[in-house]
Point group: C2
Chain length 824, copies 2
């Protein structure tokens, strides 16, 4: 059976420019390909070894222009030989051993023959070894004499997709679901297969295929064939399928009168359901459950514990070898914000710590990296260090929910590394980094590892933009080996994705490595968390959205100071959830790191950081640094013109320029907020003073009316102008009074998602620019999410020139304007 | 009124890769832009000057990133100043003069101000000057101190489009008509406007907008508004519209009982029609007429002369200043081929020579460059040198009818130059090159010039492929200044289209300059004419298609010799139509150039050329040289990877590789034909002996049946195999007996236009390639037009390997195969 032909040759005849579809598996022609044999052989024609063989042929065909001969068994000439250690050891006299998913790459000389041997601990390991060898070749690493053993750090390296059965994806920014459409599996499964290939190339061995906020329908008989189709598409890549279920299903789907986990009939119902699914998908990996959280029902309905709930499902899965992932993301979102002792940060620990040891061995508690929810910076979740007799896995978010939603470029690996390498002091004197705890190494747990929430979609480039692919790559590489450095991962990804030109590599790698700090600088430094609209779109700035509600993401900024007091001494006691050495470090202002200060302590604005700056001045400075850095990325990117293919060059440049505008919006909004709140002026005089800026509301308006923007800091001066639908074309104009010269105009306008307004900019009678406001950002209002910069460079101005901006509303989009900047 | 905004800014926001839409007007950013003022001013806000000003702004914006200020009148600061000499001379003290369409580029210092002056002899000249300055800047020519006068060589620089009113284009290879669809003008006129801009950039000032094989409906009242719309779209670019008419229109459209040109009522009818059209299009340039040719009716119906017909229409146009282009392409296509005195080459001269002086002053006889029909090589038409008292224009074919129909790359400028520079000895001792005669210079005619048959269409890149754009560019540049060298034109076009990288420039320019000779080498050397199916698609090889029919493109190859005896002494007397010095040169074998030998003489195959080779050996050698050269182009192109944008790089590479395959088909077909006919073997032993070639008909066939190919030389061995529809998948296989090594397989298959067959190639059980035969070539048969090469490089073969080709027919396409070549 041949599954690969159309894939195998697709790349050769394609006349298209780079779409990003092949991501880091482009297999672009090498300038100096290494010497390679003409044969690639597999020990046995199994599904996984055949995948490995076909991938090797495909990859080398792309990189060297040659098609290796596919053979089975030990060839009578030089060859690449793929198989398991058990299959290959006898004939090749291998002495190495390898565990599950692990592999050996070894040059074996047998008489006059040279074999490049890929020996897996199992067939999946052989597949991973094939991808590893291809990666080496693509990176230009030497392969003449190999003797390497590579074993994954943790047994579980999974991804979750939050895909809804209707085809949308919760927090997905790369298009609609590749799995689902209209409550059925998608007709075309080729994207699933290609996703499986991408995952396999990273050593990822499982994927949950529906939203953790699960539609109960997933458990209906009608859905089983669809789950099976998806599993079939993944199987050649060694990716096992998992489904997310709703705990109330016995009632909603089963028609029963209860879903109480201690009721035998409920247990029977779950068992029957799983038995049914396993008939169609015998290698189903297991089930994910989100219970008693954010409106999902759970065991609390009947006063039962999370362990009761988890074990209920785990026991139904057990006979099939299935695993139950129980999400640790459980908290009360109706907390009283007036009570200074309340703390959502405590929830995971408080909910699960006492249950340690009560979970079955095939249960895994899936814990987010931080105690809140994928914020721009959080400490490691204290629950990670607290479970000694419970399997755990660390949930990392690859999809950029709080990180600019694929419109901003943030390479998350350095952030993940920060958490994974953090020593929890969980067991005596020897280091117990988060990664070791999550992987089950510290307390010798049978299961453990990593879960990445990926949420790729049908977009050509999967991720919504080219650079965001680096996060899936980085997650996968870390899940396999969290000891890899951020630089190594960024460098690998860049070379595989954009080629090995040293300037391209250096420029992109350095941008990637600084991008998290940059994003933090303009969105939420010092542990403030991402200062976005946390009850809304999680995208634009809204400093107070976290306050005065029950969701508990409070930073508690007021006139006197800012920060959440989580100390044991005076605060919520959260810090006490850590082991003593960690708790001591966090409890004391003297040792608490600046980066987490406001996450853990409430301090006055004038508080001096370790770096010598006051808190409020650091907020101001970091926001300018962040916005300047993004502007720098766009400038640096321009130096790659002609070194990166035209299509990706232009797409990424447009993205970085957009991000530069958004970073300025964040900078101004956050700084204005804190200057107003703290009543402490920016020592450098920048905040509130923008040279060359003209507020739209202060311009001569025709048709436009002034609007108060909510929150006020989301717009410059707290106001913008809008052109009501039906008002025709509106205009805002000013007279230029500066000296003659070349200028850049920056028009800050509001690009809502509910229409496509048109803008024109005139200098005197000359039209100098026009554009359609056709971005899709998640807001239909005049606010910081829709606030967008249009940069018009190279404009010659003379004193007395009238600069006029015309806006033509469309649909619900009001052709809004915030300001114009005129800069040299 | 602003016409340009969407055009002006389109390039800035486009995220697309290079489509070729902007051709040589890409205005790509310059690495080192020159110092330029901030203002571009026009003397008066007329349509043409405004176009010039907007183009200047657009071009400099693209190249420098700056938007010049648009002003009117003489600016009070440094500026680019555009206007007519008459407008600008007083204030700027210009002493230069310029005629119609001409321009002056001059740096004028006035006090402290520097003006870069573009002064046209008229407004159109100013527009042309603006394009000229932009071209200089794009090419990196110095512009700091300018003092240049540029005057077009001829007053008429026109293009014809053979567009049918239904939307197809006769001999058009770049998509459907930009003008017409369903007997109406196309809804969207933006392509017409953009075409006008391209033409204006070359100084082309007129365009006929419908096929010379004219649909009589063009003269109906319903069509007038549509002609007017097209004229409106062209007008801002100084391009005047012309229409082609059918001489029988008084009967077919007018309902009259005659179209006899001497009937007064016929004259009145034409006058009334033209009066009507001129009401809607007051600047209509005139009318093109093809009469008494290839089935078109004409004055011969009533025994009247071409002058009667031409003057009839010319007089109706005269009051409006219109011109009548009368096509000199008149011949009898029912000639007796058995009569050795018959000669289509004589027709133009015979038909028009005696009428010299009988045409009105607003008549132009439009003469094709050669006496036959745009063949790969023809001598200059003798009629050009024979008309002393008649206006003429030279018709050159830009669309590649006999030149590979945009699937082969042939840069035609060197061919045109050959003809234009040819001295006709028409007037005493001083040189009278064709260009001077055509332009009216030699005999002081009031009108004259050049007409290019362009036939661009709706394809993104206008021409069907990127490289073919060079022919429109080259035609326009030559029409403006036929003294420009081919190298200069190729170099300009390459830099404007692909940028100024020296390697890119040198590679493409050298390929272009040799491409005509290369194409001649493999399609019809020594004046044989293009050895294609002249009564059919004009695309593939058919050496005898020209013979034994009345169309008169005979080369008269027989067992004893080849060539058309056109001597005065023993042949058709055609040579006697030239002036004496030319006739003497052609008449004598001693002085007749090799390149035209067989066009003018019949000689034995063993006849020795000036270069020392026999005719037949030269035919063999030149075909190998031609095919090898195309293979070389593809190899050279590969060295431009990463230097040319990905999209065009891949598209052009695919085209050159296809052309390389086709050139081999031509090589083999022509050589086999002449070896069979002459019974003289190739001295180098190549013809008929193809190392590594396996005929499909000799392979082990399953389902495939052997077919005789007609003509036999169109397939290797005269046979191919086909898979009848309904036979399912067929297979042809062979056992490889060579030594182990890396090989390239070349599969020669038949890609008909009436289906999309699928092919798979297996080595043993391994699928090594597959493809869909989805090209559109103008044939539905197994023949040399559909014969297509698939190259499969990098295949490791071992003795005993079975190589199997599977073909799955589709529609009428039979998955045909000719042969497989296995080469190292």
């Amino acid at each position: 059976m041949k599954l690969w032909p159309l894939i195998l040759f697709a790349g050769l005849s394609a006349l298209h420019a780079e779409t990003g579809y092949n991501a880091w598996l482009r297999y672009a022609p090498l300038d100096n390909p290494p010497a390679l044999p003409a044969v690639v052989s597999i020990a046995a024609p199994s599904v996984l070894e055949t995948s490995a063989q076909q991938e090797m042929i495909r990859g080398l065909r792309g990189m060297t222009g040659r098609t290796l001969r596919e053979e089975t068994g030990l060839p009578k000439e030089n060859a690449i030989v793929i198989g398991t250690v058990a299959q290959l050891a006898p004939e090749l006299h291998l002495t190495a051993t390898a565990g599950p998913d692990a592999y050996v790459l070894k040059t074996v000389v047998s008489g006059t023959r040279h074999y490049l041997v890929i020996a897996g601990g199992d067939e999946r390991g052989a597949l991973y070894g094939a991808f590893a060898l291809l990666r080496k070749i693509a990176l230009g690493d030497p392969i003449a004499t190999l003797d390497e053993h590579d074993t994954p750090y943790a047994p579980l390296r999974w991804v979750n997709q939050w895909d809804n059965l209707e085809g949308t994806i919760e927090r997905g920014y790369g298009g609609r679901s590749i799995f689902w459409d209209g409550l059925k599996s998608r007709e075309d499964m080729s994207r699933v297969s290609d996703y499986g290939r991408m995952l396999a190339s990273l050593g990822i061995n499982g994927c949950s295929i529906n939203n953790v906020n699960a539609n109960p329908k997933i458990l209906t008989p009608e859905l089983i064939p669809h789950i099976a189709r998806i599993a079939d598409a993944f199987r050649p890549w060694g990716v096992r399928v998992m489904i997310a279920v709703d705990f109330g299903s016995p009632k909603t789907v089963g028609g029963m009168d209860t879903f109480d986990p201690v009721e035998p009939k409920v247990a029977e119902w779950w068992k029957a359901r799983f038995d049914e699914i396993y008939k169609a998908v015998p290698d189903l990996a297991g089930v994910v459950l989100k219970a008693d959280s954010e409106g999902r029902v759970g065991p609390a309905t009947y006063g039962r514990s999370h362990a009761d709930a988890a074990n209920l499902l785990a026991r139904a899965l057990k006979p099939h070898g299935g695993i139950l992932f129980y999400r640790g993301f459980v908290y009360d979102h109706h907390m009283d914000w007036n009570n200074p002792k309340n703390d959502r940060g405590r929830a995971a620990y408080d909910n699960f710590h006492d249950l340690d040891g009560k979970f079955d061995d095939n249960v895994i508690v899936q814990i987010k990296n931080g105690p809140i929810d994928f914020q721009v910076r959080e400490p490691a979740s204290p629950l990670v260090g607290a479970l000694e007799k419970t399997n755990q896995a660390m949930e990392l978010q690859v999809t950029q929910e709080y990180f600019g939603q694929s419109k901003h470029n943030v390479f998350l690996v350095p952030m993940w590394k920060d958490v994974l390498d953090f020593d929890m002091h969980a067991k005596g004197a020897s280091p117990t980094p988060v990664k070791a705890l999550a992987a089950g190494k510290t307390f010798g747990r049978p299961l453990g590892g990593f879960v990445g929430v990926v949420n790729i979609g049908l977009d050509d480039n999967w991720s919504g933009n080219h650079l965001s692919q680096s996060n899936l790559y980085g997650y996968g590489r870390l899940a396999w080996n969290p000891d890899l450095s951020s630089r190594r991962i960024a460098d690998e990804w860049t070379k595989l994705t954009f080629g090995s030109d040293p300037k391209v590599d250096e420029t992109i790698t350095s941008m990637q490595l600084s991008s998290w700090r940059t994003y933090e600088n303009y969105t939420g430094p010092l542990g403030l968390q991402t200062l976005t609209d946390i009850t809304g779109n999680h995208y634009g700035v809204n400093v107070e959205a976290s306050e005065r509600n029950g969701w508990g993401q409070w930073h508690r900024a007021d006139e006197n100071g800012v920060g959440m007091d989580r100390t044991v001494a005076t605060g919520t006691g959260y810090i006490g959830q850590y082991r003593k050495p960690v708790a001591q470090m966090y409890e004391s202002l003297a040792t608490c790191p600046d980066d987490l200060l406001l996450f853990l302590h409430h301090v006055p604005y004038s508080y001096k950081l370790h770096n010598g700056k006051t808190v409020v001045q650091y907020i101001y400075d970091s926001h300018y640094e962040g916005a300047d850095a993004v502007a720098g990325y766009a400038r640096q990117w321009k130096t790659l013109r002609r070194l990166v293919d035209e299509q990706r060059y232009k797409t990424i440049l447009a993205q970085l320029e957009y991000q530069a505008g958004q970073a300025a919006v964040w900078r101004d909004a956050v700084n204005v907020y804190f200057q107003k709140m703290s009543k402490i002026a920016d020592a450098k005089g920048r905040v509130g003073h923008w040279p060359g800026r003209y507020e739209a509301e202060a311009m001569t308006l025709k048709g436009y009316t002034t609007r108060d923007i909510v929150p006020a800091e989301d717009a410059s001066g707290g106001k913008g102008v809008a052109c009501a639908a039906g008002a025709g074309t509106c205009a805002a104009s000013l007279n230029f009074t500066g000296e003659a010269g070349w200028y850049t105009l920056r028009v800050e306008y509001f690009d809502q998602s509910n229409g496509v307004a048109h803008y024109k900019v005139w200098v005197g009678k000359q039209l100098v620019d026009e554009w359609a406001a056709d971005l899709r950002v998640p807001s239909m209002r005049l606010d910081s999410s829709t606030s967008t910069r249009r940069t018009i460079a190279g404009i010659a101005l003379r004193p007395g020139d009238e600069i006029r901006i015309e806006g033509e509303p469309n649909g619900g989009e009001l052709a809004g304007l915030d300001y114009v900047e005129i800069i040299r």
